[in-house]
Point group: D2
Chain length 426, copies 4
Amino acid sequence: MNVENFGASERLVNAAYVRQGAQGRRAHELCLRVLLEQGKCPENGWDESTIELFLHELAIMDSNNFLSNCGVGEREGRVASGLVARRHYRLIHGIGRSGDISAVQPKAAGSSLLNKLTNSIVLDIIKLAGVRTVTNCFVVPMATGMSLTLCFLTLRHKRPKAKYIIWPRIDQKSCFKSMITAGFEPVVIENVLEGDELRTDVKAVEAKIQDLGAENVLCVHSTTSCFAPRVPDRLEELAVICSNYDIPHIVNNAYGVQSSRCMHLIQQGARVGRIDAFIQSLDKNFMVPVGGAVIAGFNDSFIQDISKMYPAMSLENLDKHSDMAVTQLGSMLFTRQVSGARVVPLGSLQIVNNYTFKGFMSHTNNYPCAYLNAASAVGMKKQDVDLFLKRLDKCMKTFRKEKSNGKDVPEMDNCTKHTSAGETED
Amino acid sequence: MNVENFGASERLVNAAYVRQGAQGRRAHELCLRVLLEQGKCPENGWDESTIELFLHELAIMDSNNFLSNCGVGEREGRVASGLVARRHYRLIHGIGRSGDISAVQPKAAGSSLLNKLTNSIVLDIIKLAGVRTVTNCFVVPMATGMSLTLCFLTLRHKRPKAKYIIWPRIDQKSCFKSMITAGFEPVVIENVLEGDELRTDVKAVEAKIQDLGAENVLCVHSTTSCFAPRVPDRLEELAVICSNYDIPHIVNNAYGVQSSRCMHLIQQGARVGRIDAFIQSLDKNFMVPVGGAVIAGFNDSFIQDISKMYPAMSLENLDKHSDMAVTQLGSMLFTRQVSGARVVPLGSLQIVNNYTFKGFMSHTNNYPCAYLNAASAVGMKKQDVDLFLKRLDKCMKTFRKEKSNGKDVPEMDNCTKHTSAGETED
Amino acid sequence: MNVENFGASERLVNAAYVRQGAQGRRAHELCLRVLLEQGKCPENGWDESTIELFLHELAIMDSNNFLSNCGVGEREGRVASGLVARRHYRLIHGIGRSGDISAVQPKAAGSSLLNKLTNSIVLDIIKLAGVRTVTNCFVVPMATGMSLTLCFLTLRHKRPKAKYIIWPRIDQKSCFKSMITAGFEPVVIENVLEGDELRTDVKAVEAKIQDLGAENVLCVHSTTSCFAPRVPDRLEELAVICSNYDIPHIVNNAYGVQSSRCMHLIQQGARVGRIDAFIQSLDKNFMVPVGGAVIAGFNDSFIQDISKMYPAMSLENLDKHSDMAVTQLGSMLFTRQVSGARVVPLGSLQIVNNYTFKGFMSHTNNYPCAYLNAASAVGMKKQDVDLFLKRLDKCMKTFRKEKSNGKDVPEMDNCTKHTSAGETED
Amino acid sequence: MNVENFGASERLVNAAYVRQGAQGRRAHELCLRVLLEQGKCPENGWDESTIELFLHELAIMDSNNFLSNCGVGEREGRVASGLVARRHYRLIHGIGRSGDISAVQPKAAGSSLLNKLTNSIVLDIIKLAGVRTVTNCFVVPMATGMSLTLCFLTLRHKRPKAKYIIWPRIDQKSCFKSMITAGFEPVVIENVLEGDELRTDVKAVEAKIQDLGAENVLCVHSTTSCFAPRVPDRLEELAVICSNYDIPHIVNNAYGVQSSRCMHLIQQGARVGRIDAFIQSLDKNFMVPVGGAVIAGFNDSFIQDISKMYPAMSLENLDKHSDMAVTQLGSMLFTRQVSGARVVPLGSLQIVNNYTFKGFMSHTNNYPCAYLNAASAVGMKKQDVDLFLKRLDKCMKTFRKEKSNGKDVPEMDNCTKHTSAGETED
C-alpha cells in the first residue's frame, strides 16, 4: 500500500481510520528500515506478521514474480508445484551467481537482498557472541563437514605443495571425512589426559609440523565444541604456532556459537595468533533445520575467496561489459522485462580462475557472427514464446529505425536461427 | 485415524457416513502404498491434499515430533521459529548421517523414508526420460557445479596420480570452476565449427590423452545440455575413448533430463563405452527452486562412494555394535524415547576412510572408564533436563536390581560428571 | 499410514526406526481417540502438529476430497481458489443440513464430526467454568445479538400471543437491537443505584409483568457481563420470578464464560428458578476471531428447537425414506461415489414445520412420473458429466438385467430429460 | 517497502536491480489501486502472490496488528492460537459495528476496507451477470435461508399488521423454514403443469392476495433457481402484481447468479414491476465454502435497513459526539494507540431504533460522574495493564497542566475506581 493506495482507501473507509492503518504500517516498515540500514540482529525479535510481510516484499522484487515478465532463459524461477512455491515464499532463484555464492542475482533483487541481510545478521550475532573482531562471514547451504572441505579446497590453491592437515583428534566422523574428501592426508594428534579431561597435545602438534615441514602442511584443523571428556582445543597456543610457522588455521566450531567459552577461545586465538576461518553449523547454533553452515573469518579477501570457490549456484551470466551494438539489443530486452535472453557479441574476453577465454559465451574463439540465445526450457508456455517474439520484434524495429538514422546497428540477418540443445523435443 | 478412531467416530456421526469417510481415506492410503511398494513416479500427479497428508504422516515419524520425546543430544530437531518449522512441514532432521548422505537417520524415520523415496522416484524419471539402464542416483542439496566437484574429489581417491581433466569447451563458468575447486587442471579442448554448429573435436581429445598419459587424466568431463550454436558433445565417441583408455567419464547434463536428445546420448554412451556419472540440476529439470542436483550412474558402488564423500550432514553416531553392559543402558534409554544420550564404552574400534581409531568416541585410545554423554544444547529446557534425569534414574535402578540378580552391570560411579563443552555458559 | 504402509516402509528404512515412527504416530492417535471417546476439552492443549493432522484426517472424510468422487449436485464443495480451500483445511461443506444447524451432513462426515466435537468440547468448558448442570449447547456462525434474535424467534412459536420482552437496561446496542429485529417490543427496566453500583430493580420487573400480563411477555432478557458501574443482573431473583410467572428467561452472557462470577450466577439462577438459554460470544471468551456465539441451556429439547430454527445451511435433502424401486437407483449411485443426484419418487409425503407436503421434492402434489435430477452447476467440468453418465449407464444396465430376472424396476423411459433451471446458459 | 527502504536496499544490492524490483512491486500496487479506485471485479484474476500481499497489507492496518498497540477493551482481536490467526490472515476483528453489518470498524481499517471492497466487487459481478440496475448489495455470514429471514424481519417493521407470505411452492426446506423462523404464515400456491414443466400459477397468487387483503400480506416470496421439472417463477407477472397491490417482493435466487436466465428474470421483474430484494448463496455461485449469502436490491435505503437489522457483530461504541472535556481524554488515548478504553461522559443522549436513552453508556439516566472504562478481559497480559496505566498517567499529567493553564479539564478524582464485571476473578 503506497500513498496513492491509502488515498484511494480513504474514499471507502473513514480517512482517520485509514490514516491510523497507514501509521500501523509504518511501524512495520520502520523495523525493515532499521534492519536494512544497520544490518544487525533486531534487539527484539520481529513478530511473524512483520517477517512474512518482509518475505512477501522481497519475493515481489524477484523477476519470477513480476506480473508481466517474459522469461526466455533456461532458469526463470518456474515452479511446477504451488505447494513448493508457497513454502519458499515464492523466492525461487536461490542465491549467488556464476559460481560466487555471495554475488548478487540480477533476476532476483529480493533474494539477493535476503542473502546479504542474512550474512550481515549472522556476522552481528557472531560478534555479539564473543568474536568481536570477525570481519566477514557467509551462510552456505551445506553441512559443516562439506564447508570444512570447501575451506581446505580453497587453501589448496594457496599452498599447492601441501598434502597434510594437522588434526588434534576428535571422534566425530564428518570433520574427519572433510579432510579425506578434500583429498588431503589427516595427521592425527592424540590428546593428553589431564585429570579426567582430554586436552590438546600442543607439543606434539609443533613437533609434527617440524617433522613434516611447514610448507607440506595445508593447515591445522582444530576443534572447539565437543563432548566431554574432551575439552576444546588450546586455540591460543595452536594459533601462535600457526602464526610462527605461517600455516593456515581452520577451526571447527560446529556448535560453539552458543558457548561463550568457545567464542572466547576463537577471539583470543585470532588476537594472539592466526585463525583463517572458523566454521559453525546453522542448526546447532541457530535452531533451524539441518543443512547449513556459516564460514567466518578475520580476513575479508580469504573469506571471499572461499565464497567464490562454490560453483554454480547459477548458470547465468548477464555481464554487459561489451560496448558493441548488439548488447544494446540485450539492454532493450532487459528493460522491457524480457529475462533470460543472452546476447552473444563477437570476441568477448573473459578470465575465469586465471584462465582466459576468447569469444566467451560462444564456446569458441572465433564464431562468425554475434547472435542472441533464448532457451526453450521446460515449463515455458506457448504464450511466453509469443510474448518474447512480439517484444523482440518491437526492439528490432526500433533498432532498424535508429540505424537508418545513422546509429550503429548490428547485422544479425546473416545468422541462421538456433534453438537451444536443451530443448524438449517431444 | 485408525480403526479404533473411526469406531469412536461412529458414535458421534452416522456410521454409514463415517464408513464412507474411512473409504475416502483408503484411496489416499492406496496412493501412498503404491508409492512405497513400487518407488515410482505416480502416473497421475497426487493432489495437494494427498501430498500434505503424506508429509504430515512422515513428520510425525521423526523423533522431534514425538509427543513424549526427551532429547538430550546436541541436535534434536529443535526449531526456534514456528514459521520455519511449518515451512519444513516439521521435518527438521535433514537427511543422511555420519557423512553418508544416503544413510538412514535413526532419529528421523520419516525424513529418511522421504529421502529414499525421492531418490527412487528420480531414478524412475531418469529411466522414463531415456536412460533406461541407469542403476543408481541420489539427490544432493548442492548446485550442479558443486556436485561435479564432489564427483572429481571421489575420483581422486581412485586415481591418486591424476592431475588433469579433459574438458571440451563450454562457456559456462560454474562447470569450469567445479574442476578448479576440486584442485585439478582443466585441459580445454576447443570445439570445431561444422556448418554453424560447434561440435566436439574427438580427435583432439584422444590426442591430448595420449599426450598427457592416460594415468595422469582424472577423467573426461563432457556436456550435453548447452546453448546453440554449441551442440551436445559427441558422447558415444567420448565414451568409447574413455573405455579404451580406462579413463572415468563424468557428464554434465545440467538441464538435459527434459531433453530426449540429451538423455539418448547418455544412454548410448553408456551402452557402447564408459560413463561413470552424469549430473543434472534439479531446478532446471524438475521446476523446483534453485539449489539441488542429481548425481546418477550405471555402477552402484561408485555412486555410493560419491554419496559417502559428502561429510557431515550429521554429527551423530548411534552405532550399537558394542556388546558391553554399558550399551544396555543406552538401549534402555533409547526405547524410553530418550534421544541423543551417548553411551561411550571402553575400547570401541572404528574404521573411518581406512583410518583405524581405537577407543572411538572417547577421543583417545584408552580412556579410563566408560561413560554417558548428554548435551546441554541451545534450545533445551529445564523440563527436558528434569525428564532426562528422571528416566535415567529409573534405568539406573533397574540396572542395579539386575546386577544384584547376578547380571553384568557397568560401574559408572567412579567417573565424575562431565558436561559438554558446547554448553551455554551464561 | 496404516499397517500395510508401515510394512512397506520397512523395506526402505530400518524396521526398528519405522516401528518407532509408528509408535510416534500412535501417541497422536491416542490424543484423537481420547477426544473422540470423551468429547472433552483436552487437559493439555494439543500441539499444532496434532491439530493439523486431525484437521487433515477430517478433511479427507468429506466427499469433496474423495479422489474418485463424481459430484452432480449443485453443492459439491467445489472451490474456485486454492488459497480459499487451504485456509479452510479443505473442509468446504459447512455444517448442518436442511435448516438444522446441528444435523449431520451425509456428504461431509469429517465436517460433521468436527461440528459434533466442537459442541461437545464447548459444553465441557461451560461446565468447567461453573455452570455444572448445563445439558446442551451449540456453536452458531452468528454474532451474539443475532443469536439472541434466534432465541426470541423460537420462543414466538411457543408463546404466539406475547409481544413484550422485559429488559433491565444495559447500554449496549446490539442486545437491544436483537429484540427489535425479532419483532418484539423491549420494555426497559431502569437500574437502581446502590452505592456507586447500578443494580437490577427486581421489584420493577415483577410489577411490570403484572402490569402487562404474564401471557403477553415473551421472556425476561437479562445480562451478566457488563462494564462497571453496572453490575450483573440479580439472576437468582429474576429466575425465581420467571419460574413463578411461567415466563421464559434468556440470559445475555456475552463475555461471561471467562468470569467465575457470571457463571456462578447462571448456575444459581437455574438451580433456584428458570433459565431457558444463555448466550455467549465466541471471540470474547475463547479468543478466536469475531463472528460466532454459543447458545446453551438446561433443557435439551428447547436448545434443539433453536438449532432447528436456523434455516438453510444446506439445500440438500437426501432422505431415502421411500421404498420404491427408483430409490434403489439412488442408492446404487450413492455407493458408487456419485453424490448430488436426486431421485424423485412419486407421491412422497413430507412434513415441514407442521405443514404437510404431498409429492415433496417434485414441487407439486401429483407429478406424472418419478425422475432423477442432476445439476449442471458452476464449477462442474465436462469430465464430471462424462463420468456421471458412465456410472449412471452402468447402474441402468444392472437395473434392466435385474428386471428381466423378475425384479421390480422403475419405468423411466417415458419421462423426458430435464436439466436444472440453475444451469449456466452461456 | 517504501521509498526509504528501497533506498536503503540500494546500499546492499546493485541499485539497478533494486529499482527493477521496485518496479515489480509497482505492478502489484497498480492492481490494488485499480481495485481501490474502481471497486470492480478485476478483468484478469489476481495471482495468489498479489492476493496474499493485499491481505497482508490490510491486516497490518488493523489495530490488533499494530506493533505498539495497547488494547484495554474487551474485544481487541486477541487470538489464543497462532494457527487460527494465520488462517484468518490475522484479520480478527470481523466486520460491522454496533449492529450494522456494513458499518466501518474504527479498530480495523483493513478489515473494513476488505468488507467494502467485497460488497463492491459482488455488486459489479451481479451487474455483469445481468441485473444491470441493481444499486446495492452486501455479503452476510449467514446461509440463504437465514438471510431470507432477515429480510422478512426487516419488512415486519414496515408492515406491522402483515402476517402472511405468498409463496409459490418450491420443495426445498430452508426457504420454507425462513418464513416460519421469521414468525410468518406461509401461504402455499401450488404450481401448474404446462407440458412437463411446473410453472407459477399467477392467477392463484393474485386471487389469494385479494382474498387475504393486501395489507395483511408481508410480501411475495418467489424463486428463480430450482430443479426441473419446476422452472423459475414468472417473475415479471409477480413483480407487476406486487407493484399493483403495493406489496413487497423478495426473490430467492439461491444459485441463480451463474444463470443468465435467472438474472434476466430479475432484471425484467425490477423493470416492469417491483422487486425489493433478491438473495443468493455465496457457495453455489462463487465457489467458496458454505456459509454466506448476498442480499441485493434496487433501493439503497431498504438494503441498508436490512444491513442495520443484523445485531451485534460488535459490542463497541466509540462515538465521540460529546464535546465535553472528558472526551478529550478519550481522544488523547486513541491517538496514543490505546484502544478499547471507553470514556463515559455525563448525560449523553442516544437514539436506538427510535428508542431514546438518556445517559447512554452509563446504563442509567443520571449517573453521578463521568468516568473511564477499561476491561480486564481474557487474553490481556500484565504488561498490557502496565502499558495502559503508563499511557493514561501521561495523558492525565498533560491534562492537569492544561487545566492550570486555564483550559477546561474534567474532574475525575471524586469517582472511585471501577473494574469491569466481566473480569476473570480467579
